[in-house]
Protein backbone atom coordinates (compact mmCIF):
# COMPACT_ATOMS: atom_id res chain seq x y z
CA UNK A 1 0.00 0.00 0.00
CA UNK A 2 2.50 2.58 -1.16
CA UNK A 3 1.23 6.13 -1.36
CA UNK A 4 1.94 7.39 -4.86
CA UNK A 5 1.51 11.04 -5.77
CA UNK A 6 -0.62 10.81 -8.91
CA UNK A 7 -0.60 14.51 -9.76
CA UNK A 8 2.55 14.50 -11.96
CA UNK A 9 1.36 11.48 -14.02
CA UNK A 10 -2.05 13.15 -14.37
CA UNK A 11 -0.30 16.31 -15.56
CA UNK A 12 1.62 14.30 -18.15
CA UNK A 13 -1.59 12.73 -19.38
CA UNK A 14 -3.25 16.14 -19.56
CA UNK A 15 -0.35 17.46 -21.66
CA UNK A 16 -0.53 14.49 -24.01
CA UNK A 17 -4.31 14.91 -24.47
CA UNK A 18 -4.06 18.69 -24.68
CA UNK A 19 -1.48 18.30 -27.42
CA UNK A 20 -3.90 16.10 -29.37
CA UNK A 21 -6.48 18.88 -29.24
CA UNK A 22 -3.99 21.51 -30.34
CA UNK A 23 -2.28 19.49 -33.06
CA UNK A 24 -5.53 18.27 -34.55
CA UNK A 25 -4.09 15.54 -36.79
CA UNK A 26 -4.04 12.23 -34.86
CA UNK A 27 -1.31 10.72 -37.02
CA UNK A 28 1.02 13.67 -36.45
CA UNK A 29 0.18 13.52 -32.77
CA UNK A 30 1.10 9.81 -32.52
CA UNK A 31 4.40 10.42 -34.30
CA UNK A 32 5.27 13.33 -32.03
CA UNK A 33 4.21 11.45 -28.90
CA UNK A 34 6.34 8.42 -29.73
CA UNK A 35 9.25 10.74 -30.52
CA UNK A 36 8.73 12.54 -27.21
CA UNK A 37 8.57 9.31 -25.22
CA UNK A 38 11.70 7.98 -26.92
CA UNK A 39 13.60 11.18 -26.25
CA UNK A 40 12.35 11.27 -22.67
CA UNK A 41 13.31 7.67 -21.97
CA UNK A 42 16.76 8.18 -23.48
CA UNK A 43 17.29 11.16 -21.21
CA UNK A 44 16.01 9.13 -18.29
CA UNK A 45 18.58 6.39 -18.93
CA UNK A 46 21.37 8.93 -18.99
CA UNK A 47 20.13 11.03 -16.06
CA UNK A 48 19.01 8.40 -13.53
CA UNK A 49 22.50 7.67 -12.22
CA UNK A 50 23.36 11.34 -11.84
CA UNK A 51 20.32 12.10 -9.70
CA UNK A 52 21.13 9.22 -7.33
CA UNK A 53 24.78 10.25 -7.15
CA UNK A 54 23.73 13.72 -6.13
CA UNK A 55 21.09 12.47 -3.73
CA UNK A 56 23.38 10.01 -1.98
CA UNK A 57 26.55 12.03 -1.55
CA UNK A 58 25.73 15.58 -2.64
CA UNK A 59 28.27 15.12 -5.38
CA UNK A 60 27.97 17.43 -8.39
CA UNK A 61 29.50 15.60 -11.32
CA UNK A 62 29.80 17.93 -14.28
CA UNK A 63 31.69 15.23 -16.16
CA UNK A 64 28.72 12.89 -16.41
CA UNK A 65 28.55 13.66 -20.14
CA UNK A 66 31.88 11.91 -20.50
CA UNK A 67 30.26 8.54 -19.81
CA UNK A 68 27.67 9.29 -22.47
CA UNK A 69 30.41 10.10 -24.96
CA UNK A 70 32.45 6.99 -24.13
CA UNK A 71 29.33 4.88 -24.54
CA UNK A 72 28.70 6.30 -27.98
CA UNK A 73 32.30 5.84 -29.13
CA UNK A 74 32.58 2.30 -27.82
CA UNK A 75 29.26 1.46 -29.48
CA UNK A 76 30.58 2.81 -32.80
CA UNK A 77 33.74 0.70 -32.54
CA UNK A 78 31.81 -2.39 -31.49
CA UNK A 79 29.37 -2.13 -34.38
CA UNK A 80 32.34 -1.96 -36.71
CA UNK A 81 33.66 -5.19 -35.18
CA UNK A 82 30.27 -6.79 -35.81
CA UNK A 83 30.05 -5.40 -39.35
CA UNK A 84 28.73 -8.70 -40.70
CA UNK A 85 25.78 -8.83 -38.32
CA UNK A 86 25.17 -5.11 -38.63
CA UNK A 87 25.07 -5.24 -42.43
CA UNK A 88 22.78 -8.28 -42.66
CA UNK A 89 19.21 -7.83 -43.72
CA UNK A 90 17.65 -9.61 -40.78
CA UNK A 91 16.37 -8.00 -37.63
CA UNK A 92 17.78 -10.74 -35.41
CA UNK A 93 21.22 -10.48 -36.98
CA UNK A 94 21.12 -6.72 -36.50
CA UNK A 95 20.23 -7.21 -32.87
CA UNK A 96 23.33 -9.40 -32.69
CA UNK A 97 25.30 -6.24 -33.48
CA UNK A 98 23.56 -3.59 -31.43
CA UNK A 99 23.11 -5.64 -28.24
CA UNK A 100 26.87 -6.27 -27.91
CA UNK A 101 27.42 -2.61 -28.77
CA UNK A 102 25.11 -1.49 -25.96
CA UNK A 103 26.65 -3.94 -23.47
CA UNK A 104 30.20 -2.92 -24.38
CA UNK A 105 29.22 0.76 -24.07
CA UNK A 106 27.76 0.19 -20.61
CA UNK A 107 30.75 -1.88 -19.47
CA UNK A 108 33.30 0.66 -20.71
CA UNK A 109 31.45 3.59 -19.15
CA UNK A 110 31.03 1.66 -15.89
CA UNK A 111 34.76 0.89 -15.70
CA UNK A 112 35.62 4.47 -16.50
CA UNK A 113 33.16 5.52 -13.78
CA UNK A 114 34.96 3.34 -11.26
CA UNK A 115 38.31 4.92 -12.08
CA UNK A 116 36.80 8.40 -12.16
CA UNK A 117 35.23 7.97 -8.73
CA UNK A 118 38.53 6.83 -7.22
CA UNK A 119 40.77 9.44 -8.81
CA UNK A 120 38.62 12.53 -9.30
CA UNK A 121 35.58 12.39 -7.00
CA UNK A 122 36.87 10.76 -3.82
CA UNK A 123 39.33 13.53 -2.89
CA UNK A 124 36.61 16.20 -3.04
CA UNK A 125 33.72 14.72 -1.07
CA UNK A 126 31.66 17.43 0.54
CA UNK A 127 33.32 20.31 -1.32
CA UNK A 128 30.96 21.55 -4.02
CA UNK A 129 33.14 24.21 -5.57
CA UNK A 130 36.06 21.82 -5.93
CA UNK A 131 33.72 19.18 -7.36
CA UNK A 132 32.54 21.55 -10.06
CA UNK A 133 36.09 22.61 -10.92
CA UNK A 134 37.70 19.19 -10.89
CA UNK A 135 34.91 17.35 -12.70
CA UNK A 136 34.81 20.06 -15.37
CA UNK A 137 38.59 19.78 -15.68
CA UNK A 138 38.38 15.99 -15.80
CA UNK A 139 35.88 16.29 -18.62
CA UNK A 140 38.24 18.48 -20.68
CA UNK A 141 41.14 16.08 -20.18
CA UNK A 142 38.97 13.11 -21.07
CA UNK A 143 37.71 14.77 -24.26
CA UNK A 144 41.33 15.19 -25.32
CA UNK A 145 41.98 11.53 -24.59
CA UNK A 146 39.03 10.63 -26.78
CA UNK A 147 40.64 12.66 -29.56
CA UNK A 148 43.81 10.63 -29.12
CA UNK A 149 41.99 7.30 -29.33
CA UNK A 150 39.29 8.01 -31.91
CA UNK A 151 40.55 11.11 -33.67
CA UNK A 152 39.00 14.57 -33.71
CA UNK A 153 36.62 13.98 -36.61
CA UNK A 154 32.98 13.06 -36.58
CA UNK A 155 32.71 9.28 -36.30
CA UNK A 156 29.93 7.64 -38.30
CA UNK A 157 27.73 5.22 -36.39
CA UNK A 158 25.50 3.73 -39.06
CA UNK A 159 22.37 2.05 -37.78
CA UNK A 160 21.84 -1.51 -39.00
CA UNK A 161 19.55 -1.77 -42.02
CA UNK A 162 16.42 -3.14 -40.39
CA UNK A 163 16.47 -0.45 -37.71
CA UNK A 164 16.19 2.38 -40.18
CA UNK A 165 13.01 3.93 -41.46
CA UNK A 166 9.55 3.71 -40.02
CA UNK A 167 6.65 1.38 -39.50
CA UNK A 168 3.53 2.58 -41.19
CA UNK A 169 0.38 1.85 -39.23
CA UNK A 170 -2.44 3.29 -41.33
CA UNK A 171 -1.18 6.79 -42.03
CA UNK A 172 0.89 6.92 -38.83
CA UNK A 173 4.65 6.71 -39.23
CA UNK A 174 6.62 5.43 -36.25
CA UNK A 175 10.37 5.39 -36.48
CA UNK A 176 11.65 1.93 -35.65
CA UNK A 177 14.61 3.03 -33.66
CA UNK A 178 12.43 5.13 -31.39
CA UNK A 179 10.50 2.02 -30.45
CA UNK A 180 13.77 0.37 -29.46
CA UNK A 181 14.63 3.38 -27.29
CA UNK A 182 11.20 3.14 -25.65
CA UNK A 183 11.57 -0.58 -24.95
CA UNK A 184 15.09 -0.24 -23.51
CA UNK A 185 14.08 2.80 -21.47
CA UNK A 186 11.05 1.10 -19.96
CA UNK A 187 13.11 -2.01 -19.18
CA UNK A 188 15.71 0.09 -17.38
CA UNK A 189 13.01 1.89 -15.40
CA UNK A 190 11.31 -1.37 -14.42
CA UNK A 191 14.60 -2.94 -13.36
CA UNK A 192 15.42 0.12 -11.32
CA UNK A 193 12.05 0.13 -9.57
CA UNK A 194 12.48 -3.55 -8.71
CA UNK A 195 15.96 -2.94 -7.36
CA UNK A 196 14.97 0.10 -5.32
CA UNK A 197 11.79 -1.36 -3.87
CA UNK A 198 12.44 -5.07 -3.56
CA UNK A 199 16.06 -5.44 -2.51
CA UNK A 200 17.95 -4.47 0.59
CA UNK A 201 20.51 -2.59 -1.48
CA UNK A 202 17.67 -0.62 -3.00
CA UNK A 203 16.27 0.18 0.44
CA UNK A 204 19.72 1.35 1.50
CA UNK A 205 20.01 3.63 -1.51
CA UNK A 206 16.61 5.19 -0.81
CA UNK A 207 17.41 5.53 2.88
CA UNK A 208 20.86 6.96 2.11
CA UNK A 209 19.40 9.63 -0.17
CA UNK A 210 17.22 10.76 2.76
CA UNK A 211 19.69 10.55 5.63
CA UNK A 212 23.10 9.04 5.10
CA UNK A 213 24.23 9.69 8.66
CA UNK A 214 21.46 7.44 9.99
CA UNK A 215 22.37 4.74 7.50
CA UNK A 216 25.92 4.79 8.85
CA UNK A 217 24.65 4.82 12.43
CA UNK A 218 22.90 1.55 11.58
CA UNK A 219 26.24 0.03 10.64
CA UNK A 220 26.23 0.29 6.84
CA UNK A 221 29.10 1.79 4.86
CA UNK A 222 27.57 4.45 2.67
CA UNK A 223 30.77 4.85 0.64
CA UNK A 224 30.59 1.36 -0.81
CA UNK A 225 26.98 1.94 -1.69
CA UNK A 226 27.91 5.21 -3.35
CA UNK A 227 30.68 3.66 -5.45
CA UNK A 228 28.22 1.01 -6.63
CA UNK A 229 25.64 3.63 -7.57
CA UNK A 230 28.28 5.75 -9.29
CA UNK A 231 29.45 2.82 -11.42
CA UNK A 232 25.90 1.73 -12.28
CA UNK A 233 24.93 5.31 -13.13
CA UNK A 234 27.98 5.66 -15.37
CA UNK A 235 27.16 2.39 -17.11
CA UNK A 236 23.61 3.58 -17.77
CA UNK A 237 24.93 6.87 -19.14
CA UNK A 238 27.13 4.80 -21.48
CA UNK A 239 24.12 2.77 -22.57
CA UNK A 240 22.18 5.96 -23.19
CA UNK A 241 25.09 7.39 -25.16
CA UNK A 242 25.19 4.27 -27.35
CA UNK A 243 21.48 4.60 -28.12
CA UNK A 244 21.73 8.35 -28.71
CA UNK A 245 24.72 7.91 -31.02
CA UNK A 246 22.90 5.24 -33.02
CA UNK A 247 19.89 7.50 -33.26
CA UNK A 248 22.00 10.34 -34.67
CA UNK A 249 24.10 7.88 -36.70
CA UNK A 250 27.24 9.79 -35.81
CA UNK A 251 29.34 10.64 -32.79
CA UNK A 252 31.40 13.65 -31.86
CA UNK A 253 33.23 14.30 -28.65
CA UNK A 254 30.56 16.80 -27.65
CA UNK A 255 27.72 14.31 -27.71
CA UNK A 256 27.70 14.07 -23.94
CA UNK A 257 28.17 17.71 -23.10
CA UNK A 258 25.36 18.65 -25.45
CA UNK A 259 22.96 16.42 -23.49
CA UNK A 260 23.98 17.72 -20.09
CA UNK A 261 21.76 20.81 -20.13
CA UNK A 262 18.69 18.66 -20.72
CA UNK A 263 19.85 16.15 -18.12
CA UNK A 264 20.32 18.82 -15.46
CA UNK A 265 16.90 20.27 -16.28
CA UNK A 266 15.36 16.82 -15.91
CA UNK A 267 16.90 15.98 -12.54
CA UNK A 268 16.03 19.41 -11.17
CA UNK A 269 12.43 19.17 -12.41
CA UNK A 270 12.15 15.65 -10.98
CA UNK A 271 13.55 16.47 -7.56
CA UNK A 272 17.23 15.75 -6.86
CA UNK A 273 17.72 12.16 -5.76
CA UNK A 274 14.33 10.92 -6.89
CA UNK A 275 14.16 8.15 -9.51
CA UNK A 276 10.40 8.48 -9.96
CA UNK A 277 10.87 12.22 -10.36
CA UNK A 278 13.66 11.72 -12.88
CA UNK A 279 11.37 9.45 -14.90
CA UNK A 280 8.41 11.86 -14.84
CA UNK A 281 10.68 14.86 -15.51
CA UNK A 282 12.35 13.13 -18.47
CA UNK A 283 9.02 12.25 -20.08
CA UNK A 284 7.79 15.79 -19.49
CA UNK A 285 10.86 17.31 -21.13
CA UNK A 286 10.82 14.87 -24.06
CA UNK A 287 7.12 15.32 -24.82
CA UNK A 288 7.03 19.07 -24.39
CA UNK A 289 10.13 19.51 -26.58
CA UNK A 290 8.50 17.58 -29.42
CA UNK A 291 5.06 19.18 -29.12
CA UNK A 292 6.46 22.70 -28.86
CA UNK A 293 8.89 22.03 -31.69
CA UNK A 294 5.90 21.27 -33.91
CA UNK A 295 3.38 23.80 -32.61
CA UNK A 296 5.63 26.79 -31.97
CA UNK A 297 9.09 26.15 -33.42
CA UNK A 298 10.16 29.70 -32.62
CA UNK A 299 10.11 29.13 -28.86
CA UNK A 300 11.34 25.52 -29.02
CA UNK A 301 14.83 26.44 -27.83
CA UNK A 302 13.66 28.07 -24.63
CA UNK A 303 10.79 25.71 -23.92
CA UNK A 304 12.78 23.44 -21.61
CA UNK A 305 13.96 26.30 -19.47
CA UNK A 306 10.44 27.71 -19.37
CA UNK A 307 9.15 24.29 -18.36
CA UNK A 308 11.69 24.10 -15.54
CA UNK A 309 10.74 27.54 -14.28
CA UNK A 310 7.03 26.66 -14.30
CA UNK A 311 7.56 23.36 -12.48
CA UNK A 312 9.76 24.99 -9.85
CA UNK A 313 7.24 27.79 -9.29
CA UNK A 314 4.66 25.09 -8.63
CA UNK A 315 6.90 22.68 -6.71
CA UNK A 316 10.16 24.36 -5.68
CA UNK A 317 11.73 21.02 -4.68
CA UNK A 318 10.77 19.34 -7.95
CA UNK A 319 7.95 16.98 -8.90
CA UNK A 320 8.87 14.36 -6.31
CA UNK A 321 10.81 16.04 -3.51
CA UNK A 322 13.05 13.77 -1.47
CA UNK A 323 12.63 14.45 2.23
CA UNK A 324 16.07 15.23 3.60
CA UNK A 325 17.14 15.47 7.19
Amino acid sequence: MKRIDWIPPALLLAIVLGALAMIGSPSTWVTLTVAGLAMGLLIFIMASGLTLVFGLMDVMNFAHGLFIAIGAYVAASTIRLFAGAAGADSFLANLGAIVPAMLAAAAAAGLLGLAFERIIIKPVYGQHLKQILITTGGMIVAEQLIHVFWGPDLLPLPRPATLRGSFLVGDVAIEKFRLIAVVVGLAVFAAMLLLLNRTKIGLLIRAGVENKEMVEAMGYRIRRLFVGVFVAGSALAGLGGALWGMYQESVTVHIGASMMVLIFIVIIIGGLGSIGGCFAGALLVGLVANYVGFLAPKIALGSNILLMVLVLLWRPQGLYPVSKQ
Binding site: M1, E213, R221, Q325
Partner: protein, 241 residues
Amino acid sequence: MAESLLTLSGVHTHIGHYHILQGVDLVVPRGELTMLLGRNGAGKTTALRTILGLWRASAGTIRFESGNIAQRDTPAIANLGIAYVPESMGIFAGLTVRENLVLAARRGPPDEKRLDWIFRFFPPMKKFWQLPAGLLSGGQKQMLSISRAIIEPRKLVLIDEPTKGLAPAIINNLIEAFAELKQTDTTILMVEQNFHAAKSLGDSVAVMDAGRIVHAGRMADLAADAALQTRLLGLSLEAHQ
Protein backbone atom coordinates in the same frame (compact mmCIF):
# COMPACT_ATOMS: atom_id res chain seq x y z
CA MET B 1 27.50 -1.10 41.26
CA ALA B 2 27.70 -3.13 38.05
CA GLU B 3 30.88 -3.14 35.98
CA SER B 4 31.20 -0.49 33.32
CA LEU B 5 30.19 -1.21 29.71
CA LEU B 6 31.18 2.21 28.37
CA THR B 7 33.70 4.61 29.85
CA LEU B 8 34.60 8.04 28.54
CA SER B 9 37.84 9.48 29.93
CA GLY B 10 38.89 13.05 29.24
CA VAL B 11 36.96 13.23 25.99
CA HIS B 12 37.24 16.45 24.03
CA THR B 13 35.24 17.19 20.88
CA HIS B 14 35.69 20.10 18.52
CA ILE B 15 33.05 21.05 15.98
CA GLY B 16 34.74 23.34 13.50
CA HIS B 17 36.44 25.98 15.59
CA TYR B 18 34.23 25.38 18.62
CA HIS B 19 35.48 23.40 21.56
CA ILE B 20 32.29 21.65 22.67
CA LEU B 21 33.21 18.69 24.90
CA GLN B 22 35.94 19.80 27.31
CA GLY B 23 37.08 16.66 29.07
CA VAL B 24 34.07 14.41 29.60
CA ASP B 25 34.44 11.58 32.13
CA LEU B 26 31.44 9.28 32.10
CA VAL B 27 30.81 5.71 33.23
CA VAL B 28 27.83 3.75 31.90
CA PRO B 29 27.32 0.62 34.00
CA ARG B 30 26.39 -2.60 32.19
CA GLY B 31 22.70 -3.54 32.32
CA GLU B 32 21.59 -0.20 33.72
CA LEU B 33 19.79 2.82 32.37
CA THR B 34 21.99 5.87 32.76
CA MET B 35 20.34 9.27 32.49
CA LEU B 36 22.35 12.13 31.02
CA LEU B 37 20.88 15.43 32.19
CA GLY B 38 21.83 19.07 31.77
CA ARG B 39 20.53 22.32 30.40
CA ASN B 40 20.16 23.07 26.69
CA GLY B 41 23.51 23.43 25.00
CA ALA B 42 25.39 21.57 27.76
CA GLY B 43 26.77 19.08 25.22
CA LYS B 44 24.57 16.01 25.76
CA THR B 45 23.81 15.43 22.10
CA THR B 46 27.44 16.05 21.22
CA ALA B 47 28.44 13.42 23.78
CA LEU B 48 26.15 10.78 22.23
CA ARG B 49 27.32 11.65 18.73
CA THR B 50 30.94 11.43 19.80
CA ILE B 51 30.39 7.97 21.29
CA LEU B 52 28.97 6.84 17.95
CA GLY B 53 31.78 8.44 15.95
CA LEU B 54 29.49 10.95 14.26
CA TRP B 55 31.87 13.53 15.69
CA ARG B 56 35.47 12.44 16.08
CA ALA B 57 36.88 12.97 19.60
CA SER B 58 39.93 15.24 19.45
CA ALA B 59 41.36 13.82 22.68
CA GLY B 60 40.56 11.22 25.33
CA THR B 61 39.47 7.58 25.21
CA ILE B 62 36.08 5.94 24.79
CA ARG B 63 36.27 2.41 26.11
CA PHE B 64 33.48 0.06 25.04
CA GLU B 65 33.78 -3.41 26.57
CA SER B 66 37.51 -3.88 26.26
CA GLY B 67 38.44 -1.70 23.28
CA ASN B 68 38.99 2.00 22.64
CA ILE B 69 36.49 3.08 20.00
CA ALA B 70 37.36 6.78 20.00
CA GLN B 71 39.01 6.76 16.58
CA ARG B 72 36.85 4.18 14.82
CA ASP B 73 34.28 5.11 12.21
CA THR B 74 30.54 5.09 12.74
CA PRO B 75 29.60 1.84 10.94
CA ALA B 76 32.29 -0.07 12.82
CA ILE B 77 31.08 1.32 16.15
CA ALA B 78 27.44 0.56 15.33
CA ASN B 79 28.36 -2.99 14.42
CA LEU B 80 29.73 -3.58 17.90
CA GLY B 81 26.08 -3.63 18.99
CA ILE B 82 25.40 0.05 19.62
CA ALA B 83 22.13 1.56 18.38
CA TYR B 84 21.12 5.22 18.20
CA VAL B 85 17.81 7.04 18.56
CA PRO B 86 18.72 10.60 17.55
CA GLU B 87 16.96 13.72 18.74
CA SER B 88 15.55 14.18 15.22
CA MET B 89 14.46 10.50 15.26
CA GLY B 90 16.17 9.92 11.90
CA ILE B 91 13.39 7.82 10.42
CA PHE B 92 13.39 7.28 6.66
CA ALA B 93 10.19 9.05 5.66
CA GLY B 94 9.94 7.57 2.18
CA LEU B 95 10.35 4.01 3.44
CA THR B 96 7.53 2.06 5.04
CA VAL B 97 7.56 1.08 8.70
CA ARG B 98 8.47 -2.42 7.57
CA GLU B 99 11.33 -1.21 5.37
CA ASN B 100 12.71 0.95 8.18
CA LEU B 101 12.81 -2.09 10.42
CA VAL B 102 14.22 -4.39 7.74
CA LEU B 103 17.19 -2.03 7.37
CA ALA B 104 17.68 -1.82 11.12
CA ALA B 105 17.88 -5.61 11.43
CA ARG B 106 21.48 -6.38 10.51
CA ARG B 107 21.51 -10.14 11.01
CA GLY B 108 18.77 -10.98 8.50
CA PRO B 109 15.02 -10.48 8.38
CA PRO B 110 13.50 -9.14 11.61
CA ASP B 111 12.85 -11.88 14.15
CA GLU B 112 9.12 -12.67 14.48
CA LYS B 113 9.20 -13.06 18.25
CA ARG B 114 11.09 -9.85 18.71
CA LEU B 115 8.59 -8.08 16.47
CA ASP B 116 5.65 -9.39 18.50
CA TRP B 117 7.38 -8.15 21.62
CA ILE B 118 7.76 -4.69 20.08
CA PHE B 119 4.18 -4.67 18.78
CA ARG B 120 2.98 -5.35 22.31
CA PHE B 121 4.11 -1.98 23.61
CA PHE B 122 4.02 -0.13 20.27
CA PRO B 123 0.79 -1.38 18.59
CA PRO B 124 0.85 1.36 15.89
CA MET B 125 3.94 -0.28 14.41
CA LYS B 126 1.84 -3.32 13.55
CA LYS B 127 -1.14 -1.31 12.41
CA PHE B 128 0.90 0.92 10.06
CA TRP B 129 3.34 -1.78 8.96
CA GLN B 130 3.05 -0.92 5.27
CA LEU B 131 2.63 2.85 5.65
CA PRO B 132 5.40 5.24 4.56
CA ALA B 133 6.97 6.37 7.81
CA GLY B 134 6.67 10.01 6.82
CA LEU B 135 2.91 9.74 7.31
CA LEU B 136 3.17 8.66 10.96
CA SER B 137 2.40 11.07 13.79
CA GLY B 138 5.26 12.49 15.87
CA GLY B 139 4.76 9.95 18.64
CA GLN B 140 4.56 7.07 16.19
CA LYS B 141 7.76 8.22 14.49
CA GLN B 142 9.47 8.14 17.87
CA MET B 143 8.11 4.63 18.44
CA LEU B 144 9.53 3.59 15.08
CA SER B 145 12.91 5.12 15.84
CA ILE B 146 13.04 3.23 19.14
CA SER B 147 11.76 0.02 17.52
CA ARG B 148 14.57 0.21 14.99
CA ALA B 149 17.11 0.55 17.76
CA ILE B 150 15.86 -2.57 19.57
CA ILE B 151 14.80 -4.74 16.62
CA GLU B 152 17.74 -6.94 17.54
CA PRO B 153 19.32 -7.44 20.96
CA ARG B 154 21.84 -4.63 21.40
CA LYS B 155 24.56 -4.13 23.93
CA LEU B 156 24.05 -0.38 24.21
CA VAL B 157 21.26 1.92 23.06
CA LEU B 158 21.84 5.69 22.91
CA ILE B 159 18.56 7.62 23.12
CA ASP B 160 18.38 11.41 22.75
CA GLU B 161 15.35 13.20 24.27
CA PRO B 162 12.71 10.63 23.30
CA THR B 163 9.79 12.49 24.90
CA LYS B 164 10.53 15.89 23.36
CA GLY B 165 7.41 17.51 21.98
CA LEU B 166 5.11 14.54 22.62
CA ALA B 167 1.70 14.45 24.33
CA PRO B 168 1.56 13.18 27.95
CA ALA B 169 -0.33 9.99 27.05
CA ILE B 170 2.34 9.06 24.53
CA ILE B 171 5.11 9.92 26.97
CA ASN B 172 3.59 7.48 29.47
CA ASN B 173 3.43 4.85 26.74
CA LEU B 174 7.15 5.39 26.03
CA ILE B 175 8.04 5.23 29.73
CA GLU B 176 6.28 1.86 30.01
CA ALA B 177 8.13 0.62 26.96
CA PHE B 178 11.50 1.67 28.38
CA ALA B 179 10.61 0.01 31.68
CA GLU B 180 9.97 -3.18 29.72
CA LEU B 181 13.21 -2.77 27.78
CA LYS B 182 15.08 -2.45 31.07
CA GLN B 183 13.95 -6.01 31.92
CA THR B 184 16.20 -7.26 29.10
CA ASP B 185 19.92 -6.97 29.65
CA THR B 186 20.18 -3.94 27.34
CA THR B 187 22.31 -1.08 28.61
CA ILE B 188 20.81 2.33 27.90
CA LEU B 189 22.29 5.82 27.90
CA MET B 190 19.41 8.31 27.65
CA VAL B 191 19.24 12.08 27.46
CA GLU B 192 15.99 13.33 28.93
CA GLN B 193 14.70 16.79 29.81
CA ASN B 194 11.47 15.53 31.35
CA PHE B 195 12.52 15.01 34.99
CA HIS B 196 9.45 12.93 35.80
CA ALA B 197 10.46 10.44 33.10
CA ALA B 198 14.12 10.66 34.05
CA LYS B 199 13.37 10.01 37.71
CA SER B 200 11.17 6.99 37.09
CA LEU B 201 13.52 5.27 34.62
CA GLY B 202 17.07 6.15 35.59
CA ASP B 203 19.30 3.84 37.62
CA SER B 204 22.32 6.07 37.52
CA VAL B 205 22.62 9.68 36.47
CA ALA B 206 25.20 12.10 35.13
CA VAL B 207 24.71 15.82 34.78
CA MET B 208 26.52 17.87 32.14
CA ASP B 209 27.27 21.54 32.03
CA ALA B 210 29.39 23.48 29.57
CA GLY B 211 30.91 20.38 28.00
CA ARG B 212 31.82 18.58 31.25
CA ILE B 213 30.21 16.11 33.64
CA VAL B 214 29.52 18.06 36.83
CA HIS B 215 27.75 15.35 38.83
CA ALA B 216 27.50 11.56 38.69
CA GLY B 217 25.70 9.21 41.03
CA ARG B 218 22.56 7.18 41.66
CA MET B 219 19.30 8.52 40.28
CA ALA B 220 17.46 7.72 43.51
CA ASP B 221 19.82 10.00 45.45
CA LEU B 222 19.30 12.90 43.08
CA ALA B 223 15.52 12.35 43.07
CA ALA B 224 15.46 12.56 46.85
CA ASP B 225 17.55 15.72 47.07
CA ALA B 226 15.57 18.79 45.97
CA ALA B 227 18.40 21.18 46.79
CA LEU B 228 20.85 19.23 44.64
CA GLN B 229 18.35 19.18 41.77
CA THR B 230 17.96 22.93 41.93
CA ARG B 231 21.68 23.50 42.08
CA LEU B 232 22.51 21.12 39.19
CA LEU B 233 19.55 21.48 36.95
CA GLY B 234 18.23 24.91 37.83
CA LEU B 235 14.99 26.13 36.45
CA SER B 236 15.26 24.39 33.12
CA LEU B 237 14.06 21.08 34.53
CA GLU B 238 11.57 22.38 37.05
CA ALA B 239 9.71 23.98 34.21
CA HIS B 240 9.20 20.51 32.76
CA GLN B 241 8.02 18.79 35.92
